[in-house]
Each structure stands twice: as C-alpha cells, then as structure tokens.
Assembly symmetry: C2
Homo-oligomer: 235 residues x 2
C-alpha cells in the first residue's frame, strides 16, 4: 500500500510524504487493543494497513454507540485537528490489524500550505457527510432486516449479476452494533431476511443466486438508487 495512492492523500506535496515516511510508526495489534480514548490528547492520526478498527463513544449510563467500523485504506483520528487536539471518539482494534501512525502536525501543515490537498480533504469530508446522512436515514426508515440487507449489499461487488457470496468481515455482534441493534435482534432479523429473500446462511458466509433479491427488499426504503454511487467514487 503506497500512501500516494490513497485518495485521501491525493495532491499531497513531496515534502508532506517525506515527513510522513520519516515520522510514521507501524505496529501490529490484536483484537481488543484500545488505540486511544475519547477526549484523549491527540498527537497522531492513523491509517489502517490491514484489519478492522471500531470507533465509538460511551455514555454516562454505560451504553456504547458505534461511530464507524473501518477497514484497510481508511484513516481515523484526523478530525482531532478541528477539535482542539482531542480525539472525538475512542478507537479499538476489532480484527487483528496493522496500523500506521502519523503526526497530526504534518497533516495540519499540509492543509494550511497546500490548497489542492485541502480541497481534496474537503471532498473526503463531504463524502463522509453523505455516509453519515445515509446511516441516519436508514436508522429512521429501514427496519432491522432491511438494514442488514443493505449492509450486505454494500459489502458485495454491486456489478455482479449472477450468484454472489459474501463474508461478514467481523463478528455478528459487531455488525449488530454497527447497525444499531442488539445481537439477538440481529440474529432474528437475519433469519427473517433469509426467509423473505431466499439467501443462504452458513456462519459468517452468505450466498444468494443474485443480488436482486436483496436489492428489492432493502433499496425501496432508501433515497438512493442501486447500485450505490458512493462506493464507486471511493474506489
């Protein structure tokens, strides 16, 4: 994975990449490792080389809300720049991961000095905004089985017209929290989705004759068309 090829870093200056190279630290972490806590003093932002990382917050009364669950190629912690250098969420490794850290100061400097880079980063922020908009919309409009259907569709190659196999990238309990439901609800909702669309489930593997079945079931309750445009833009 080359930093320069990441869409978030497009338009970075040579000096920026030099600094990143020099000041980066790569480390491997196993499941459960806490990378930082909400409100921690922030010096670094992070890039996921492999594995999965959960971003979340906790409330006074003990419940947890999952902000996002990210995979290879995504960065996190970078928004601390705009939050008085404090992380706006906690970050935990949820599947064995290789993580690279970079100084926030380098990012801040590059934004200030390199206009194209800044514009590019704004595009990324706008894209994330759409992502969150969609989450909120789905939380409001879709029921549990529909949300799962949508989640599966977004894991798949949406160009595929024939039979499709999808693997859940992390524990079902985590998928449940990502979708804002209880594990029990997830389990029952997945059964219902199976009953209503004819998909086949074997542990973390889901098979179907065609994506169509899911599309009809889930995408009627979404304000965007299938296939999801935002997935292409990112690639």
């Amino acid at each position: 994975m080359n930093l320069k090829n990441l869409s978030i870093f497009a338009n970075g200056s040579d000096r920026f990449f030099e600094t990143l190279d020099k000041e980066s630290q790569t480390s491997k972490h196993s499941k459960g490792k806490m990378l930082f806590l909400h409100e921690d003093d922030a010096q670094s932002f992070f890039l996921i080389k492999s594995g999965w990382v959960k971003l979340f917050r906790e409330t006074l009364d003990g419940s947890q809300s999952v902000v996002d669950i990210l995979s290879a190629g995504h960065i996190f912690g970078e928004t601390a720049i705009f939050e008085n250098d404090r992380y706006p969420y906690s970050a935990e490794v949820v599947e064995p991961a290789e993580i690279v850290s970079f100084p926030l100061s380098a990012l801040k400097g590059e934004i200030r000095e390199n206009n194209d880079f800044a514009f590019n980063m704004m595009s990324a922020m706008a894209r994330y905004r759409r992502h969150q908009d969609r989450e909120l919309e789905h939380r409001t409009i879709q029921n549990a089985p529909q949300r799962i259907g949508c989640f599966l569709l977004r894991l798949a190659d949406q160009e595929q017209t024939g039979p499709v196999t999808i693997h859940l990238p992390y524990d079902k309990t985590l998928v449940a929290s990502r979708l804002g439901m209880q594990p029990e609800t997830f389990s029952r909702a997945l059964s219902k989705l199976k009953a209503q669309t004819g998909i086949k489930i074997k542990g973390a593997t889901i098979e179907m004759d065609s994506l169509n079945q899911l599309v009809e079931y889930s995408c009627a309750a979404c304000s965007s068309e299938f296939p999801c445009k935002d997935l292409k833009a990112q690639a």
Copy 2:
C-alpha cells in the same frame, strides 16, 4: 446580518464579499415553498436571513427522512460543490423565511484561492460531522422522551440556572420528524417527559423551574457533558 460576521465566512477575502454582494439575490418565501429538489442541478447555495428551512430526502416507497432543520445564520446547498453540482437533498421553507442565494462558483473559487477560508470551512464541516454523530448516537441510545428533552435543552440558554421558558420554533409535527418519530409518538412522549420531569406545557411553550430536571433525564444517555460544548463554539 453582515456576511462578514458569519463564522462560516470568516477569513473571506474582500473580493469574495464583493462578488457575493453583487451576485446575491434575496427573496421572501412562505411556508411550504420548495427551494430545490434532491439531485437538482445546483448553481447556488443559500443563506437563511430569517425563518426555518427543512432539508430532507425521500425514498422510493414514499417515506421522508429529515436531514436537518435550519434557522437564521445557517447556509445550505453548499455541499453540492463536492457532489458534481447536484443538491444532495431537497429544501423546503417550513416557517416564513428570507433567503439569500449566492453562486456556488464564487464559493468554489474562494476555497481554491484562499487557504484560510478553506481551513475555516473545513472546521465548519468537522463541526457538522460532530452534529451528525450526535444525532446518530441519540437515535441509537435515547428513547423518544429523552430525545425531546435533549432537543429542548439545546434550544435553551444553557447558562441559565433559574426558571426557564422555551418556545418550540416550528410545528410539533416537524419537531417529531426532526427527531425521527411519528407525531403521535411525539405527543405521547412529551406527556411522559412532563410526567417524569415536572415541566409545564402550554401549546408550543414549555416552562420549568430549572434545566436540571431535563439534564438529569436526558443527558445520562449522551456521551457528552452538559452544557453542550458545541453550542458555545458556534456563537
């Protein structure tokens, strides 16, 4: 209202403000006026001088999801810059409003040419991200009465320690949709909130001896402390 005083436009160049002045159009609209539709070709972004505007999307099966409801001093439609010049939502006036339109091109130009302005706009986007994060969190963790309590708290002056009076800024039906619930649910949830916190309700006016009652009821199910920091930052 002076453009230069709006925090979103801080650091704008003189030339930028000249262009805005020259190319702006102000108009008054009554309730129900559609300003633009989701996916419309976008030429302008908008500033609310007075009144309220609802941003929303609709799904194939006819349900509506409210993205946000904005008041004086807020801009909208500006993110079309990053969406191939198409509006990412529909916009409708929900309380009689005075709206100023500006060419998106001017904004785009200023972002490209004025680094400080771009940085400032990124801060605004980051702030909005936190806003959405919170919405999603509350939708997951808080129940209907708690969400209403939180909504009321955010309408109030949170420094106040004595008796407080809050006026709902728009119809209860709209508040309901803003909070992601049905009007009937809103009505019942407000009664429950009244029963559990002792607030007094007269139509769109809500009174209480102190904000404390609401804080205890709602803020335990939130990952932020009371008072809400983000409200100060904006002022």
